[in-house]
């Protein structure tokens, strides 16, 4: 018992090495996290536009159309990885992609969008993070696909890869939205 106490650090370290080893050899494959929100109505949300805080956009106004909600932040390296995928997605499909700028600095967010390009049809700002809490966002990026009835049909935790976009998002969208507008 008394000896066991001194073995704890070794055990913790072994676990850590295991994670590092797996992480090192792991090909980054992104999967789906089961979420209780999927197949339910998206929690009501309404947020000010990033560059026009007088105007707000929310779930009510978006009823009746498909949209993709991507939670990101300029502080988030994984979002940076995901960013080119979203840029391509925007260029090759005509679904509305709304960016929720989460707990971010407005200036940093704008800097990011000008520098790296803006993949969003609309960018709203969730400075306090309330909406993200309602959406059950644990860490950025997270991406939701919402149907015209306001139901979340798919939720992706972590970055969207080109394959995810093809299979999980485009696959669920009606064909006219899945290709770019003529």
């Amino acid at each position: 018992m008394k000896l066991g106490r001194f073995l704890i650090p070794l055990g913790v370290f072994a676990l850590l090495v295991l994670f590092l080893a797996v992480g090192l050899n792991h090909s980054r494959e992104v999967g789906v996290l089961k979420s209780p929100l999927v197949n339910h109505d998206i929690p009501q949300w309404e947020l000010p536009l990033l560059n026009d805080p007088q105007h707000r956009l929310g779930s009510q106004a978006l009823k009746g159309q498909w949209y993709v909600l991507n939670v990101w932040g300029s502080w988030c390296p994984a979002c940076r990885q995901e960013h080119p995928v979203l840029l391509k997605a925007r260029a090759s499909s005509s679904v509305r992609i709304i960016g929720v700028d989460w707990k971010d600095d407005d200036a940093d967010a704008n800097e990011w969008l000008t520098k790296l390009g803006n993949p969003y049809t609309d960018v709203v700002s969730d400075r306090a993070g309330d909406t993200a809490i309602n959406l059950g966002v644990a860490a950025a990026p997270e991406t939701f696909l919402v149907n015209p009835e306001g139901v979340i049909v798919y939720k992706q935790v972590g970055e969207v890869t080109p394959r995810d976009w093809q299979n999980e998002f485009l696959g669920r969208l009606p064909p006219e939205l899945a290709r770019s507008a003529p």
């Binding site: 650090p9 940076r80 860490a139």
Partner: protein, 650 residues
Amino acid sequence: MLPELGHFALVLALLLSGLQAFFGIAGAAFGRSRWVAATSSAVAGQIIMVATAVGLLVYAFVTYDFSVLYVAQNSNSALPLLYRVAALWGAHEGSLLLWIFLLALWTLAVALGTRSLPQRFKARVLGVLGLLSFGFLLFTLATSDPFRRLMPAAPDGRDLNPLLQDPGLAVHPPVLYTGYVGLAVAFAFACGAMLEGRMDQDWARWTRPWTTAAWAFLTCGITLGSWWSYYTLGWGGYWEWDPVENASFMPWLVATALIHSLAVTEKRGLFKSWTLLLAIIGFSLSLMGTFLVRSGVLVSVHSFAADPTRGRFILAFLGLVIGGALTLYAWRAPLLKSNAGFELTARESFLLFNNILLVVACATVLGGTLAPLIADTLGQTALSVGPPYFRPTFLLAMIPLLALLAVGVHAGWKRGNLDHRTRGILLTLVVALVLGGAVVLGAFGGRHWLAVTGMTLGGWIILSSLLDPIDRLRRSLSLPRAVLGMAVAHIGVGVIVLALTGVESYTTERDIALGANETARVGGYDFTLAGTQPVEGPNYSATRATVLVSRDGALITTLYPELRRFWVQQQERKVAGIYNRRGTDLFIALGDDLGAGRWSMRAQIRPMITWLWLGPILMALGGLLALTDRRYHLARREATAPAAAAGERA
């Protein structure tokens, strides 16, 4: 020919470090005094070989030897001399060589600076250090040889990463690495004690100054890095909780805990196994920092090597060194006994809480840093945890720590009677509260409870740390350097707390777009763009803006922010224009050319930022004062005679 000589020097250094490890550890284990004596010779030989290799690589850089791959990748004929030398640690291979060189220097310092240590123990310490050198040299030679030739030689080099072409970054890595590697000494002392199966107050007294020195270097290194990112990354951020920043911050937190727990072990013979564990963890984290940076397992702007072979090697090495040390710990630590007790208000209790809170803070940072990795492994997703996580969790551990600090410095050992200082502690608290409240409400305006808390805590720590030195001077008592050093370092903590509060609460920043002779008002200052002009540097072309800053119509200063485009790598780098006015930085960085003479810019008014750089300097200075305390040198002289006698017997 010369680069081959450098490679050969590294091979010899590898052999010598192997001998050093063998003679040191086996010599002590089997009691062979001749083997023990040979350890120091191996140390001397190794430093000569490593220094030769470093010298030859620097020479290759200085003489533009583009037949060496590493030089061709990280230098250019237009690169100024300072950066040709600093390019040594501009990428992976050279950074490793620097690491090895610094480890050899610390080893030499231990060999020369510890004449009072018993011979056997010293041999063990040098042996463990030799083992570390061996691992790093093997890694370098097997996966990252800096002397690899390029056939045929490149006509010109690909240039040093423009972000690194800055005086701040020329010094940041060596200082930080000196701190990282310095923790190896504490680690080796801990392993030495565990191999010996004995650990006493003398051990703590030997280990303490080395740990303090490494900690002071870490403090300076982290601050230099933060300062550099503040003025060159262009947008005025000084700490982003980037994985690599965290990698340097975690060993610092543990080293801070370690220097405090060493104090308890030295004075009271307590916390023995805990101190050993901290010494192991501190160095483990600095090794892991290397791993995280080098292997590319974490996504970060800093990582410059993403090669799984290297990652695997480092991981195996990490597993052997840390796993070995922790196994030794599990075996030996239960043998260490301390029977002394202490009361709740004794200094021991305060230092115990200090340790717990620092380790908790470190654990939260570690959790946040590894969260993406763990999520990736378990849930197969990539995600990031940023400042929204780090800031509140870190504050949660820091606020109680700071409050305990202001009280704890007055607690005595063992009994901890605080009565004689109760008045002083309360008085300084009241004064700090009044001053802090006045500053927040009066000078800055706005009432934010966190700002009042920060200002009060910072002021309280400073005032409270002054009590003891002032009291000693008034009563004409001696003021040992250890006491003075502690006060100075703690005042540094207070200064940092004040600075962070001021900067975080009262920074005004705005993105502005200005055409020629247009003015924007930011935080009471008027920024006027007088014009822009092209400027040619040695290896870059730049746009330099002339920005007039005035307040109430009176010109304060003219700033010249630059946007540099480096020729070879076609990469841009900003150099912000900064003017310091009574501790407040007026900051302007040039953004993008909007056409027709208009530019986007970011203007910031950052109050108290100067204090943010001053605080860590005070902390490091405090450490320096403490480690030059007389008792470490007296002890050395007293101990020389019996140690020499013991050496003869052995």
